[in-house]
């Protein structure tokens, strides 16, 4: 039963992507959505994911802004005659602990200015992040913890 609501959303997306709102097509999308969700049903077990649309929207808005800024900075860096690089990999201590949160945070970090997630430690306590400018890892850590990590916690818990 828990799968039905996401499957309805999937059916809408399916209708939009295939470009046809005919009932048969929507039903097909619904069934495909159910099948896809059934395949990953085990990851739904014991979920305590809250759903806060407004907070998710805020997260998405922050993300789009950071992505634009990030692409701009890489572009400026690449186009400058002397590239001022101080690259390095630093460990970021994770507060979030669930798979979906870590995945989301890693993806967001990769698409934000100057940082790229490389790996999660085996005990899932650290995220290793590559930074184009690693001269001040303390400040970068604080930016991530106060920015994306907090927003993720607000949106999903």
């Amino acid at each position: 039963m828990k799968l039905v609501i996401p499957a309805v959303v999937f059916a809408m997306i399916w209708a939009a992507v295939t470009g046809s709102l005919s009932p048969l097509n929507v039903i097909l999308g619904f069934l495909l959505g159910l099948l896809a969700l059934w395949l990953i049903r085990r990851d739904f077990a014991g979920n305590r994911t809250a759903f806060r649309p407004l907070r998710l929207l805020a997260l998405a808005a922050l993300f789009v802004k950071e992505l634009a800024l990030s692409a701009w900075r890489v572009a400026v860096l690449v186009a400058s005659p002397r590239m001022a690089l101080r690259p390095g990999i630093f460990a970021f201590p994770l507060t979030v602990d669930r798979d979906i949160e870590i995945t989301l945070l890693a993806n967001l970090i990769t698409l934000t200015p100057g940082t790229l997630s490389v790996d999660v430690s085996d005990d899932r306590r650290f995220l290793y992040v590559h930074a184009l400018d690693c001269s001040d890892p303390v400040a970068t850590r604080r930016d991530i913890a106060d920015g994306f990590e907090r927003k993720i916690l607000e949106a999903l818990r």
Partner: protein, 112 residues
């Protein structure tokens, strides 16, 4: 109205193309695989996304625009994963950071 739409499409195409070009230049100019992934994952994603949106707007049909938009969403979902996996594989294979690198917590941890 048509002219306005055409202008928006043109601007999106040119800016998107510029970002894609700069991503390509970045892959040539940056010193190691990790810094190159920055260029490929960020500037590349934004460049392709802008051009996809331009294509969707130009078609003037909702169905085409929805598909282009879905393409953008999938780009944003997959590009970081690809960059992350390439960087992770490179690090596991022992590929070092370039000489200007200032810190590597991951290597330090592996030693302990």
């Amino acid at each position: 109205m048509d002219i306005l739409l055409a202008l928006v499409v043109a601007v999106l195409l040119v800016v998107g193309g510029l970002f894609a070009l700069l991503a390509a230049i970045g892959i040539v100019r940056l010193p190691d695989v990790y810094t190159r992934m920055h260029a490929a994952s960020k500037a590349g994603t934004v460049g392709s996304s802008l051009m996809l949106v331009a294509a969707g707007l130009h078609s003037g049909e909702f169905a085409t625009f929805a598909r282009a938009f879905a393409g953008v969403v999938f780009f944003i979902l997959t590009a970081p994963v690809a960059a992350h996996l390439v960087a992770k594989a490179a690090h596991q294979a022992g590929y070092r950071l370039s000489r200007g690198a200032v810190c590597d917590d991951m290597r330090d941890k592996a030693k302990n």
